[in-house]
Subunit: 340 residues, 4 copies
């Protein structure tokens, strides 16, 4: 399978290149980066020196796309302009931006301050979180790859909301992210080392962060979502709070999660008390989850961790590609996490 990566010099694009460099069935044949046009991709990612993908010269953004599979790893707003033509050429598209994630146009307008993709195009898109519903992904031509916070939050809560283990009202998600979540192109001072280091800060407080409606779409329940910036490069920890539903025993929480994910290759449910750390999943496509109940207050607490650039972006995109192409779902993603 021949693969093109558009936006190859960003953090998400680079992670696609790193992971695909050892994929047994996919072959990166094209990398597009206006910034590095004409230079080998290893100029953007020195760690790719001596890999095949690292040696590929970057095409500019006006290049003809050649891949059978096209990963779009660029800012929201771009995919909706180019995906139609790519599909018409018979290519399959995996979009890492938010362009096709929300079914609700109004929510898109409200949270993204922009027009959503045309209805006809959006209808062709399949939401690509395999653990929620992998069947439609297998035959999809256009996949909307989920947001990073969304992935951690949804995997933590969806089985509990769906089964009624927790109440649908009063869900709080307090998420902590490494700074790479902001992307490579952001130059705000708060992403600078001297200001981000030794500093933890909330942002997008009060239900205004763009990932809020996507989480709500996945859960079918309203949430209060607060993202935070933590002084680390990678990783997301979502600490999720919900009310234990009436008549449910506390033991049911972990049991429900364990049962929901029993056959999932990338979701690990740990025993109560064995709390996961973002370092546990660095560099891997795993989501690790543990839960408990504060019986004093009847509050369920679920903690889930992912690597924001892997399961939260490039890794999940490759998992989607594997499904779309009939490869083993774990192909190219079997490597363990990097630790410490």
């Amino acid at each position: 399978m021949q693969v093109s990566i558009i936006g190859a010099s960003g953090y998400g694009g680079g992670e696609l290149a790193r992971l695909l460099s050892t994929h047994p069935h996919a072959d990166v044949v094209q990398v597009v980066s206006e910034t590095y046009r004409g230079r080998p991709l290893s100029a953007a990612f020195p760690g790719l020196a001596r890999t095949k993908v690292g040696a590929i010269p970057c095409d500019g953004h006006d290049a003809a796309i050649r891949g059978d599979i096209v990963f779009l790893a660029v800012e929201s707003g771009h995919a909706m302009r180019v995906a139609g033509a790519l599909l018409d050429e018979g290519r399959r598209v995996i979009d890492l931006s938010a362009d096709f994630r929300l079914r609700n146009s109004e929510a898109h307008r409200t949270f993204y301050k922009a027009e959503p993709a045309p209805e006809a195009l959006r209808k062709r898109a399949v939401y690509g979180m395999p653990e929620l519903d992998r069947e439609p992904i297998r035959s999809a031509r256009l996949v909307a790859n989920p947001g990073c916070y969304v992935t951690a939050s949804t995997l933590a809560l969806a089985p509990l909301v769906r089964t009624g283990i927790v109440a649908r009202e009063g869900i709080v998600i307090d998420a902590k992210s490494g700074v790479s979540g902001a992307g490579r192109s952001k130059s705000d001072t708060l992403f600078r080392y001297a200001e981000a280091n030794e500093s933890t800060r909330p942002y997008g407080v009060g239900g205004v962060h763009r990932h809020t409606p996507e989480i709500e779409q996945n859960l079918g329940a309203p949430v209060t979502f607060t993202p935070h910036l933590v002084p680390m490069t990678r990783g997301i920890l979502a600490t999720c709070y919900a009310r234990l539903a009436n008549g449910i025993r506390p033991e049911a929480v972990t049991a429900t999660l364990a049962s929901a994910y029993a056959n999932e290759p990338f979701v690990v449910v740990r025993p109560e008390g064995d709390w996961p750390s973002t370092k546990d999943v660095a560099g891997s496509n795993l989501c690790q989850i543990a839960a408990t109940v504060d019986v004093r207050t009847g509050t369920v607490v679920v903690c889930s961790v992912i690597d924001n650039l892997v399961k939260g972006a490039a890794g999940q995109a490759i998992q989607n590609m594997n499904l779309m192409c009939g490869f083993p779902e774990t192909a190219g993603l079997e490597g363990g996490g990097i630790w410490p």
Copy 2:
């Protein structure tokens, strides 16, 4: 005023020494550290080289205490054994441990897995959070200095709970702390650099952390409290969630906080949207707070930051000393935070 610091080589003790080294009215005359017995305090804190307090040789733990004011900066369980005698000698005691914080003996037994201090001794202790109630501190002989998480959480929520702006049920506090909160003597691998770096993790999940009952005592309301370890040395951010009470306008939240703290020298209420970062208070005795309401879900979100070793420990202890001694409350604490 002559001051003794017991436990001077720990993180809290060192911060007392640092802050008191330029205090206009207090004079450290004795530092006690068994580990550094016989060596100048600057052996434990090279940054105190060339300060008067740094040159003081450490007494062993069997030394006679000489200070009029005695700071106890040692593990919980010690103060309850020595405070009585110190008080009988006419000294005033500020205890940075948990020995005298909880009024409820049973809560102490449950959360600290240990017997509380004798009733008679506990009755002499005054809880030392000036913003809650500073009058009793002025005449106290024994002050229980609050916990670090407790300080950030209480200052964020107390005015809202007391005035009924938020409901008393369903409060969630998600707190993030730098690693120095664990103290200097902890050697668990999870405090080691290679494992703590690039890692955010929850711990004490499910309402079992020792600071839980102390927060509840201050608020008069149950809370679900979850602490997290974040890869930074100093700082606590408490993100607090509560339900906006019926009939209360969102604007009332920030207004209530601003009004409550209008005359407080160390609490800064920032406008909605101007979210504080732990770096904003590093090295200073400030608590900075901002709040908003997620109107979609009716959830109040209050974010407060402190330096866990200053307002969360040594700085607040000195603030208490100032009150006890009739000094200006800000004496020795006027310096701005260190940034970046």
Copy 3:
């Protein structure tokens, strides 16, 4: 003494404000920052909330300067344009930029790629490293505050070169700096958190860094100087290598340093083997030094640490002000370092 800080919202300017906020004899009456024009300085440095200096509204860059003492904490090239007029108005000027540091015009042109200050103005400037020569500073009207790397390197080596303990040829200085050394306005990607974190890198290799000629001017000897960026916010460690001069006993190295700095308030010479760490001086005006000899190769190794923003910039500038004004040299700088 009334003080103006020009460039008050940069890292150096902010550190001046922090340190001067508790200075017993100096009073900041004016802060100039085009970026924060009209806003209180605490908008740029939230840690200065509730300090007097933090409440001062920033003047724009066209404001009339009012201070008796004027700190210029702006990019090189500015001071040479404004210093003359300030001096003519009777103000005393301390310039934290490089405009007046080099006596050799040609070196200035080579390393700064710019014309040096006019000869007449440069002649009025005194080089402000008190440990090298404090007498001229006392009567100076215009002080050139040394570079950060220069301070760490010079204090480590000057006594050894001057006394002939080490050879003048073959000196190597390998310096490691925290990222704040780049200043607040630099937006290069290599200063971004996600790229600077977990990364140590050299830059300006091969004798091309601007601080090279200034170190050589101080030592009177050629040096190979290599700066490195280390993932921390503050601090410089200079590891200096020189050949032990013929006939000199290894013990003479530490003895010479100890003797040279015996009466210096801000230089601590530690015993051989007690190696200093940058954390030991964070937030303080200290320079800590330790040395040894690799007797197998006859190489002297001297390690010195400073806080790049204090002894490497604002602290040393205040030390110079104290000398110029006849204040105690340590006024406002007595506080110990912040640790951990």
Copy 4:
């Protein structure tokens, strides 16, 4: 090829497991860790959950060894006790400790304060740095895997010393390492997060670090070697200084390095000025090098970076295994580095 990892729960052992988990020709059949005896290896490395190697229960240290290839990733002093028996059983051994690195017994005694391995056993060991001499490794039964600092330093300098491009006298190596270099079992306070963070420090100054004689053995020249601890988890940067030999043109430096490594799969020589950063090689087996000459002083400066746990330990060990087993040298090591 069946593989046993002894010391599997240490940092080096875990990295072997991570890298071998996707090796095409080697199969980890046994992991030995007394600490995790009876528990799956993923208990020690949660990132290995869902990998085959992560599921293997750890044997205790008394288990019979089963692998054809045995990696010894334990403290120095152990391999010399067990290697003989393993060899006698027909197994091939790759020792990551220092037991067989030094040919000079006296140097071993001096720097390791311990008796070296028996002469007969040492004679069977081959030093395993393929770039120095890979032929003997192909037929080796016992390989001494090089030290981490040694690898970075040797690769930077060996071609220059061997060809006489630099003088053999006066070589200085200033190396900076992440904290994982200390190993997982070290509990000194200086490895704790709160004390290691925001701190750079030298140690083993003056030619006393254990890697000194190994570097000298590789170069055939005396060196002044100074290691430093830098606040990052992984990575080594060696900044190497040497005198340009008489009559050699500066251009010869990079040209010689480039020529020496032209066919090396894991050594990248970058153009002058394109300085490598430790992040460029994180997680990969690459060594990246760039050099220049300070023509003012005639000093050659070579900067080389490796991941201390990969090319500095586990990756190089696998490279050696590949050579010993006739596998492609890059098998299992093709993946690019992780960035950011």
